[in-house]
């Protein structure tokens, strides 16, 4: 990658250097994790209440 481009990209993170399909998979993965996190909170409340 050129210096110019590196400077431009600085701060934008790895996400902006991923092809579109990988970004989509990344978003899907994060959403799945958030949903599973919510499921964990939902299930673990049983322990908190008991």
């Amino acid at each position: 990658m050129t210096e110019h481009a590196k400077n431009k990209n600085a701060g934008q993170g790895r996400f902006s250097q991923m092809p579109q399909h990988k970004r989509l998979l990344g978003v899907w993965w994060v959403l799945n994790m958030l949903v599973l996190g919510a499921l964990a909170a939902y299930v673990l409340r049983v322990l908190a209440l008991s």
Partner: protein
């Protein structure tokens, strides 16, 4: 709606039921039973959210693009399926009658009955439905047949799952949660009605007529549509529409095609259509005067409103259609920013609008690079595939990151070019792409 808003809305819809169940006053059952009920609720909520990500809702797909929305729909189907399949296996509480001293039904699961039968039916149908979608091309003779099955099948599974959730679900005995489930089901079914009924009705009031269909290259045709009694379609260069030629507006025999004409050519719509299957193989037989319907515009392969010091239009095969629209519009607006058009085909006979492209790119700051993988003798352009190597030859090792790079063509070409551009330092948000297939 941009990606973040769309993800936020998805999470909101999917997590509301779980949140309401947690907030409800009902004592939870044991750990494993709660895991089972949680998975069931999530699976059903994702199933319902899928309806909004499946149809042609500009509010949903307008920001991220139709192809991304459809891909997201396919990925979420997998999440839904896993949760739905696991759901029944985690229950440990026995089935049984409601006990008089257990009004909140902590000690027994609903007795086997209709509500369990509907759940079981949905549980069996859902994997079959997903498998059918994955094997679509092999199972269905026509794309329309698949669309009918997918729409009606989804509605059936959603209804069965709703019945099971509301009548067998313990938390859904809470009226607020039951109302949320019913509301979400109603929205999901309304989305189907909107696609299958309301839109066709609106389209019926705005018919088009085929003005001409002419062969413009090997197995490639240009179809021109004229509005019949209305002003036409407002769209942005690079967008596409679902086109129905010669069928009732209620028919699902419609196909997505990029608009190749510029918005500045008020009224008519031009399409470049490549012979590829049932409908497109017969496009040459569509007589002028045929009634047509256009649902659109959709898609965000468009440069409007995006700051750029120049444009690179990179097209493979019939992917030239949206590029022609963009180039024609730039010309109509006398836009003097630099443009590089990179256009790849297999053979010279496949080149569409070659003379026009050469004329549009004859200005000082415009440049046309043509590439053929099977060039004829004496071919003066580039040879080989439109791939990363060609991108490096055309744009050098430092493509300008302030330009916009617009890609459309076969999937392998787009992936190769996208990866090459990113490798050369172009941020991915400077690359726009539109896929012609969703799989």
């Amino acid at each position: 709606m941009n990606g973040i808003a769309l993800s936020g809305l998805y999470l909101f819809v999917v997590l509301i039921p779980l949140g309401l169940a947690m907030a409800g006053m009902r004592e939870p059952r044991g750990f494993w039973d709660e895991a089972a009920s949680g998975m069931g609720m999530l699976a059903f909520a994702i199933l319902l959210a899928e309806f909004l990500l499946s149809g042609r809702f500009k509010a949903m797909s307008g920001g991220v693009g139709m192809d991304i929305t459809m891909r997201f729909h396919q990925l979420l189907a997998r999440s839904c399926l896993v949760l739905a399949i696991l759901h029944p296996f985690f229950y440990q509480t026995p089935f049984g009658r409601a006990l008089p001293y257990d009004p909140t039904r902590q000690l027994t699961l609903a007795e086997p009955g209709l509500a369990l039968a509907t759940g079981a039916a949905a549980w069996v149908l859902l994997p079959a439905f997903v498998l059918l979608s994955l094997a679509r091309d092999k199972v269905f003779k026509t794309y329309e047949g698949w669309r009918w099955t997918h729409g009606l099948g989804a509605a059936l599974i959603a209804f069965l799952a709703w019945h099971h959730t509301v009548y067998a679900g313990r938390y859904a005995q809470d009226p607020a949660l039951a109302a949320v489930w019913t509301g979400l089901l109603a929205i999901a079914l309304a989305s189907l009605l909107s696609v299958y009924l309301v839109r066709p009705l609106l389209q019926r009031a705005r018919p088009w007529r085929v003005a001409s269909v002419e062969k413009v290259a090997d197995r490639t045709w240009e179809a021109v549509l004229k509005p019949e009694g209305h002003k036409g379609l407002e769209f942005r260069a690079g967008q596409f529409g679902w086109i129905n030629m010669g069928h009732s507006p209620f028919s699902l025999a419609e196909n997505p095609f990029s608009i190749a004409s510029a918005p500045a050519e008020s009224g008519v719509l031009r399409f470049i259509i490549k012979e590829l299957g049932d409908f497109t193989n017969t496009i040459g037989n569509v007589p002028p005067g045929t009634i047509a319907y256009v649902d659109g515009p959709f898609g965000n392969l468009t440069i409007d409103g995006i700051k750029a010091t120049g444009h690179a239009l990179i097209a493979g095969g019939v992917g030239i259609a949206p590029m022609l629209s963009i180039l024609r519009q730039l010309e109509a607006e006398r836009d003097d920013r630099p443009v590089i058009v990179v256009y790849g085909n297999r053979i010279a006979d496949q080149i569409v609008a070659g003379a026009e492209l050469r004329s549009l790119c004859s200005k000082d700051n415009r440049h046309l690079v043509q590439c053929l993988s099977e060039p004829p003798e004496g071919w003066a352009g580039e040879t080989g595939m439109l791939d990363g190597a060609l991108v490096r030859r055309v744009f050098g090792s430092t493509p300008d990151p302030d330009w916009l790079y617009i890609l459309c063509g076969p999937p392998a070409m787009m992936s190769g070019v996208e990866v090459a551009l990113i490798g050369l330092g172009v941020p991915s948000d400077r690359i726009l792409l539109e896929r012609f297939t969703y799989d």
